[in-house]
């Protein structure tokens, strides 16, 4: 019997090759590097974590390669609780594309989404092209959290998802207080999900 107190949808975005899939696989499976092509047919990955006695189920969605030619569907952003915007610290270009990603977020994600900026590949410190301070300033200007990770060395990966989970719990609790009611997700009337309901039988 699976039980959890919260379920959150976390969505990864960022240029191709910055290590999004590696972050997810490292966190959910402890694997690096992920077997190529192994993600075929997998929509999202699940990991349940416990934070201070609260069971949180994280549903982590990857781009399915649609970022390669900048063709992510808008529907991918809908109803995400959190976004992990990833760039590669050894690739200036992936950092420069961030404003473009932010525009997409602004257009299609819900206003309440928690966004965290992640600089990945800190194991390749000698190849670093984007200084930490620069990224921090950028993140702060955009009201994002910032973290640097290495999916390869497993640095900060755990922390990334757990921090996000904490933040999401905090927000959810806040909303419950404000609402006196379970917080509906954007657009989620009390009785939507008819379809998913039936499809799950």
């Amino acid at each position: 019997m699976e039980d959890y107190d919260y379920l959150f949808k976390i969505v990864l975005i960022g240029n191709a090759g910055v290590g999004k899939t590696c972050l997810v696989r490292r966190f959910t499976q402890g694997l690096f590097p992920p077997g190529q092509g192994a993600t075929i047919g997998v929509d999202f990955m699940i990991k349940t974590v416990e934070i201070k006695g609260v069971k949180v189920k994280l549903q982590i969605w990857d781009t399915a390669g649609q970022e390669r030619f900048r063709s992510i569907t808008q529907s991918y952003y809908r109803s995400a609780n959190a976004l992990i915007l990833t760039y590669d610290i050894t690739c200036e270009d992936s950092f420069r594309c961030l404003p473009e990603w932010l525009r997409e977020i602004e257009q299609y994600a819900n206003n309440q989404v928690v966004t965290i900026l992640v600089g990945n590949k800190i194991d390749l410190a000698d190849k670093r092209e984007v200084h930490r301070q620069r990224a921090e300033e950028f993140a702060e200007a955009q009201s994002m959290l910032y973290l640097e990770t290495s999916a390869k060395e497993s640095d900060n990966v755990e922390k990334l998802f757990l921090d996000l989970a904490c933040e999401l719990i905090r927000e959810a609790k806040q909303n419950t207080l404000d609402n006196n009611d379970s917080t509906p997700m954007p657009g989620e009337g009390k009785n939507i999900n008819y379809l998913s309901c039936c499809s799950m039988n």
Partner: protein
């Protein structure tokens, strides 16, 4: 990353991301075909797309520009790529499926700072130069970037308010953003939302533009239609959320009233007499299994359904309801077809709610994207802003062996699937098309206010004269995530007899308050104010190619054309077409079998539980899955199954993934 080359060989190349093409893409990819899916536009879904308000203004601009510019084809680029024994068949780079586009804005042009309580003012005359209006639309590109600032702001600490404002009625928000606040009828459901205190300005529409998701095609989903069945069967439903259409209305003698269609409606109806209620129930019960009682209707099998209804001694009232709003057929439709339509309607009732229809949150444009996501998850490659210049045809076999894309790359393929609008006129037998007339309105209130201002209504408007078309109207509220709070998004659709404006403007002025004189406020008389005011309206015609079949094109045998959206209310036509193209391509393959459920794969502890290869097919037990839906967490995630708290529980559908190893 943009300059990355594509692989040089695919099983299937698909051009166009409309519903039919996207379903085919998902279906092919799902069974292991390599798929390249392209669209020349910078957005998904082609004519099925939905746009934010600002996005729609850009689309309007694009339409205008395309009228003028004809791009010279650069033949030289691809000439060198053609080998001996190969022929070239160019495609068109111009989309001519949209015509007669007209835009009128009646929202106040004033700056939006004021606290004035004036009613909506008209600024644009109905017959103003659309030219200038459209230009104005285009110049709002700047606004687009403006909104970036607000949103960045709200990305931070003020997110919560905005969100709740939208979804929760009774919460008084801290007044962080005064001008964000809409005097929403929501907050006082008691009084009818007639007095909109603060006018909605054009600036406001632009500023809140991202809250709109305006569909080019207006359709609903029959809860037992082909699309819903496919979404469930394929597990694509997990990518979207849906809402019930909450009521069905009709317009009779200029008055909008609710159509009683479910048992509960019929009994609750105040407009029907007791005798009528009994009559209606009896008739509907008969329709549910009319095949069992051929004696009831066989005398009318060659006659129109409308005559059959008369013969049943139903009151005129009831005849109208059944003909126009339940069967939704014409005066001429034959009895059996009318009975079938009525039966289908009734069978769809109660599956998810007390109308037969669902609507996807964020608009219909989500649905093709959901199928594209499915295709991508199974390895399909996606490129927007990327088209095909020409097909390379093998002279011997008269088959397409490759395509040359807009970057001049030659890409081999075994099959080529293409949306109709990419085909040149030379390849067509006929260029006489049917058209669909469309109007899109932003209004300030519902055509039939009720206790809840969050209704999604289907309004059937019977033809006025014998030659006039029946008009179908869908009114969407803000909780459908297609318009900003305090407004309604209204879609009108009919088969064209003239231009969209000619066909639909009479209906619009019948049901809405359209300021006629420039600068004049709608008169304060109760008569006028009983109608919703139009803030913005767009008319256009869309080509309806659904009558075409493969014999209508002279194309190589492995080219499969997908026609655009049809004028019908449901999407059966497009889904059936997708299925038939798929079976043509891959006769022995299953059409969209259920995708494995990621819930089956659970990594709980540390350390890998499955090595790479074990990951790609679900080999977990079925139990995991069914448990996942047991409990709805306090903060539910959208695609998480929830309890269905509506009327009738559906018999479980077997959608379990194939449990083969």
């Amino acid at each position: 990353m943009a300059a990355e080359d594509l692989p040089s060989q695919f099983d299937v190349v698909i051009l166009g991301t409309g519903l039919t093409e996207s379903v085919i893409a998902a279906a092919c990819s799902r069974v292991g075909q390599s798929v390249l899916h392209l669209d020349r536009r910078n957005y998904y879904a082609g004519n099925w797309a939905s746009f934010t308000f600002n996005g729609l203004l850009s689309w309007i601009e694009e339409y205008k520009n395309q009228q003028e510019v004809q791009i010279a084809e650069s033949e030289q680029v691809w000439r060198s790529l053609i080998d001996e024994g190969e022929d070239v068949m160019p495609l068109t780079s111009v989309d001519s499926t949209i015509s007669n586009l007209e835009v009128f804005s009646y929202a106040s042009e004033e700056e939006e700072k004021d606290e004035t309580k004036t009613p909506l003012t008209s600024c644009q005359p109905v017959n103003a130069e659309t030219e200038s209006e459209e230009t104005k639309g285009g110049s709002t590109e700047g606004q687009d970037t403006c909104t970036g600032d607000d949103a960045t702001e709200s990305n931070g600490k003020t997110q919560n308010e905005e969100h709740q404002e939208q979804h929760t009625s009774e919460i008084a928000e801290p007044s962080q953003s005064q001008d964000e606040k809409e005097p929403q009828p929501i907050s006082s459901p008691a009084d009818p939302p007639v007095e909109v205190e603060k006018k909605i300005t054009y600036q406001k529409l632009l500023k809140e533009g991202r809250r709109f998701n305006i569909d080019l095609v207006s359709k609903l989903m029959y809860s037992r239609g082909a699309l819903v069945d496919l979404l469930i069967k394929s597990n694509v439903s997990r990518y979207a959320e849906f809402k019930n259409i909450s009521r069905i209305l009709t317009c009779r003698n200029g008055k909008v009233e609710q159509v009683p269609c479910s048992r509960a409606d019929v009994f609750a109806s105040k407009q029907l007499t007791v005798v009528e209620k009994r009559m209606l129930m009896k008739f509907l019960t008969f329709c549910l299994d009319f095949e069992q009682h051929p004696e009831e209707y066989q005398d009318y099998s060659e006659k129109p359904f409308s005559e059959f209804l008369k013969s049943k001694k139903l009151t005129e009232n009831l005849q109208d309801f059944i003909l126009h709003s339940i069967a939704m057929v014409t005066q001429q439709t034959l009895t059996e077809e009318g009975l079938k339509a009525t039966q289908h309607f009734l069978r769809c009732l109660g599956r998810y709610g007390n109308t037969p229809f669902l609507f996807p949150l964020y608009g219909l444009g989500e649905i093709p994207q959901c199928f594209c996501r499915m295709c991508a998850v199974f390895g399909g490659i996606y490129c927007l802003r990327h088209s095909v210049q020409c097909l390379v045809v093998d002279k011997g076999s008269n088959k397409v062996k490759a395509v040359i894309d807009t970057r001049g790359q030659k890409i081999g393929c075994s099959h080529f699937v293409v949306e109709d609008s990419y085909i040149r006129d030379e390849q067509r037998q006929s260029t006489a098309y049917r058209q669909i007339s469309r109007a899109v309105l932003i209004t300030d209130r519902s055509v039939l206010p009720s206790e809840s201002d969050q209704q999604i209504s289907l309004v059937t408007i019977p033809p006025v004269g014998s030659s006039a078309p029946a008009v179908r109207m869908v009114e969407l509220c803000s909780s459908s995530m297609t318009c900003m709070p305090g407004t309604y998004l209204v879609h009108l659709t009919c088969s064209s007899s003239g231009t969209a404006q000619e066909d639909l403007a009479p209906v619009v002025s019948q049901l809405f308050d359209v300021p006629a004189i420039p600068g004049e406020e709608p008169s304060g008389g109760s008569e006028e104010r009983s109608k919703p005011a139009v803030l913005w309206v767009m008319y256009f015609n869309m080509r309806d190619t659904s009558a075409q079949d493969s014999s209508g094109y002279s194309l190589p045998s492995n080219v499969h054309v997908c026609t655009g959206p049809d004028s019908g209310l449901g999407s059966n036509y497009s889904i059936k077409l997708a299925e038939s193209v798929f079976h043509h391509l891959l006769p022995d393959e299953d059409f969209c079998p259920p995708a494995p459920n990621p819930e089956d794969i659970i990594y709980d502890g540390d350390g890998p539980q499955a090595e790479g290869s074990g990951f790609d097919e679900s080999n977990n037990t079925e139990e995991d899955k069914s448990q996942a839906e047991e409990e709805k967490s306090p903060s539910t995630e959208s695609s998480e199954p929830a309890e269905m708290d509506s009327v009738t529980q559906e018999t479980p559908l077997d959608t379990s993934p194939p449990s083969e190893e």
